[in-house]
Amino acid sequence: MSNPQQLRYSKEHEWLSAAGEDGVSTIGITEFAANALGDVVYVQLPDVGSTVSAGDTCGELESTKSVSDLYTPVSGEVTEINEDVVNDPALVNSAPFEGGWLFKVRVTSEPADLLSADEYTAFAEN
């Protein structure tokens, strides 16, 4: 698997897109995380308009075998959630970096320890 170079990553296996001009970044989980979960069957995302803090849990990902907390890698206001993935959680497995994105945040602060694609790849493979 390859982790897109233009994204940054958290050690909780989320990815984060570069913020656009409106300061909004898109967040999802990595292919590595999706594979580890197995078939995702239920996704609970944060409410639009809510404020999230980097490193906090803000939802759930449920797979056949387990329930995992969803963490936000950055702080800010949730501006949008992916309704497609709520209706069809399998998108997290089939397109984790694209159609399986989870939510968007207008970023107010981000931690210093986000990883580059190469750093994340090395981290995930260990």
């Binding site: 197995g38 078939d39 069957v41 759930e60 449920e62 075998k65």
Partner: protein, 375 residues
């Protein structure tokens, strides 16, 4: 006494699983394939085509001798001495209090030879109990856990696939029957048993032959869509089929009557058997006071009930407990098996919820199984 090896045990097909890219998991001390790709796709393959499983972690124990059947009658709750040669029986081994030590399939291979198949997690307990309980009978208990690899080919296409590899009379082989034969040129016990709710076969063979038979089944099954399947889909397949799993629906704290499986206990057999007194009491009690009843639950929403979650009434009071739960690929909804108070056990009962991490989710009470194949 033998100490369990410190590292997980690996089956004869370990290298094959890794080559197939399986996600492995520790299961009862064995490193087993959990899934090869999508567990949902594997589940669907077994329901509609065929799936191939490595179940070599299961624990085989042989009983041999003129009184092998009598020894099993004494050791188990069933009447195995009455089993015809070539047939298999689902049964249980209980402790003196009637608690279930394991559920078993027993195959009668000959007049004086039985093969007992125990769950991997309980194999040592079963071996020890059988050894102790067979004492005084003209029967030898033999640990055959390392003597067999176990492959299962399950699903509607499985008879056609296996027919290409054996001369054995599969049409004459009934459900819960087993006969010695040759598969892909090697000796095997061919049994029409399984844990998926589909037609299928379990093949007991020498570990050294496992690769060859796996390969032959893979090739013979490829044209009809057979795929390798891991333990994850095995669990959702058995759950849809309403089959209990030891450690979930069955424990040492449950009797066969608690689990709604009192029919496996044969009081009318000659001689005493371990647990008789306690089980007779449990049977009498089940006739008067209905204990918590094992039911099926189907979700309205998408959230998945898990083992241990509370079943609650509308006012939040506990009325039962989930023993197994999973998203059911065939039904397209989360399902669960749960023990509930008898007044909530009737199919269609309103006002039954599962507490899913603080959220009260409505559930429909249904009779088991959730899924039954068309015959």
């Amino acid at each position: 006494m033998t100490d369990a090896p410190p590292t997980p045990r690996r089956t004869a097909l370990d290298a094959r699983h890794r080559a197939l890219g399986a996600t492995m998991t520790d299961f009862a001390g064995w490193d087993m394939p959990l899934r090869y790709g999508s567990e949902r796709d594997e589940h669907t393959a077994v329901r509609t085509r065929a799936g191939l499983f490595d179940l070599s972690h299961m624990g085989e124990i042989s009983l041999i001798g003129p009184q092998a059947g009598d020894a099993l009658d004494h050791a188990l709750v069933g009447r195995l001495s009455a089993l015809a040669v070539g047939r298999a029986r689902y049964t249980m081994i209980c402790d003196h209090e009637g608690g279930i030590l394991d559920d078993l399939i027993v195959y009668r291979l000959g007049d004086e030879e039985f093969l007992v198949v125990a769950n991997a997690a309980n194999a040592q307990v079963v071996l020890d109990a059988l050894t102790e309980r067979a004492d005084g009978f003209e029967a030898t208990v033999r640990d055959d856990r390392d003597a067999y690899a176990l492959l299962a080919v399950q699903g509607p296409e499985s008879p056609g696939i296996l027919k290409r590899l054996t001369d054995a009379d599969l049409d004459g082989l009934k459900y819960y029957a087993g006969l010695p034969g040759t598969v892909a040129g090697v000796s095997a016990l061919i049994a029409r048993t399984g844990y998926t709710g589909e037609d299928g076969f379990e093949l007991f063979l020498a570990p050294d032959d496992a690769e060859r038979v796996w390969e032959a089944l893979t090739e013979a099954g490829a044209p009809v869509g057979l795929v390798p399947c891991g333990l994850s889909c095995r669990d959702t397949l058995r759950l849809e089929a309403g089959m209990p799993l030891y450690g979930h629906e069955l424990t040492t704290d449950t009797t066969p009557f608690d689990a709604g499986l009192g029919r496996v206990v044969k009081f009318e057999k000659p001689g005493d058997f371990v647990g008789r007194e306690a089980l007779e009491a449990a049977s009498r009690q089940a006739d008067t006071v209905t204990p918590r009843t094992l039911v099926g639950l189907i979700a309205s929403g998408r959230r998945v009930p898990r083992a241990g979650y509370a079943v609650v009434a509308a006012d939040g009071s506990a009325i039962g407990q989930v023993t197994s739960g999973a998203p059911a690929p065939t039904l397209g909804k989360p399902i669960a098996m749960a023990y509930v108070d008898p007044e909530y056990a009737k199919p269609g009962t309103e006002g039954v919820f599962v507490d899913i991490r603080g959220a009260r989710e409505p559930y429909e009470v249904v009779a088991l199984p959730f899924y039954k194949r068309e015959r």
